[in-house]
Amino acid sequence: MSLFTFLVLALLAVGSAAGMLLRKNPIHGALFLAVNLTSVAALFLTMRAEFLAAVQIIIYAGAIAVLFVFAIMVLIPGKEETGPDPLRRQRWLAVPVAAVFLILVALVLRSAVLGGDPKPPVPGGTEAVGRVLFTDYLFPFEVTSVLLLTAIVGVVALTKRRA
């Protein structure tokens, strides 16, 4: 049953990623991206990472996907890619490059990373994540707030219209 759930969610994720790559219209790409992010949130749920699943939906599928759609619909007209492609021949090289990349990643993962006996999965509720976040990772957490503040100031400075 859990394998069936995983397969359905994996197909949804890969299919929406393929849709994002193949559709010419960027607004369709943004909507496919939202589907992909939501299915990854569901995959987090199947790995018992409940806190991350909620955060994924709120931040990624909520804020980030909406920001993309907002940027396309309000600020930038969502133009399709038209006209002659100056690098058409080079672009076809991307497919074998990506295939070689996938093979290399598969080899590395097979050889090294997943050895050893599996441990029982830990529940990833808010309490478990928060306990580690506010004890062992307190300093990175504070640095994150500075990063977000810098991003806010930078965005305001970048998008302000020059008078």
Binding site: A17, L21, L33, V40, P86, V95, L114, L133
Partner: protein, 100 residues
């Protein structure tokens, strides 16, 4: 329980699709979405590794990746909007001003 290696394999596939998107698309917005796809695939692998080793720290790392991704999207979209205001066109092949 599905073995973690399945999740890692799915993460590798999603990451490769993100790489493919960055390589073949011309619209900077779509390239940006592909970068998000790669970040998300890395998150999936991090959670899978954390569960494999029985610790919650992989999920804490994913939390930090989410924050960095949010900041990156805000700044990146602001840069794309600024470029669009300047040029009135959007194609990464035309943005070669910095080429020496």
């Amino acid at each position: 329980m599905v073995p973690e290696s399945y999740y890692v394999a799915l993460s590798a596939v999603l990451f490769t699709m993100g790489v493919l998107g960055v390589l073949i698309r011309r619209n900077p917005l779509v390239i940006f979405m592909s970068v998000e796809l790669m970040l998300n695939a890395a998150n999936l692998a991090l959670v899978a590794f954390g569960q494999r080793h029985g610790t919650v720290e992989g999920q804490v790392l994913v939390f930090f990746v989410l924050c960095v991704a949010a900041a990156e999207v805000a700044v990146g979209l602001a840069i794309i909007v600024a470029i669009f205001r300047l040029r009135r066109r959007l194609s990464v092949d035309e943005l070669s001003t910095l080429r020496g």
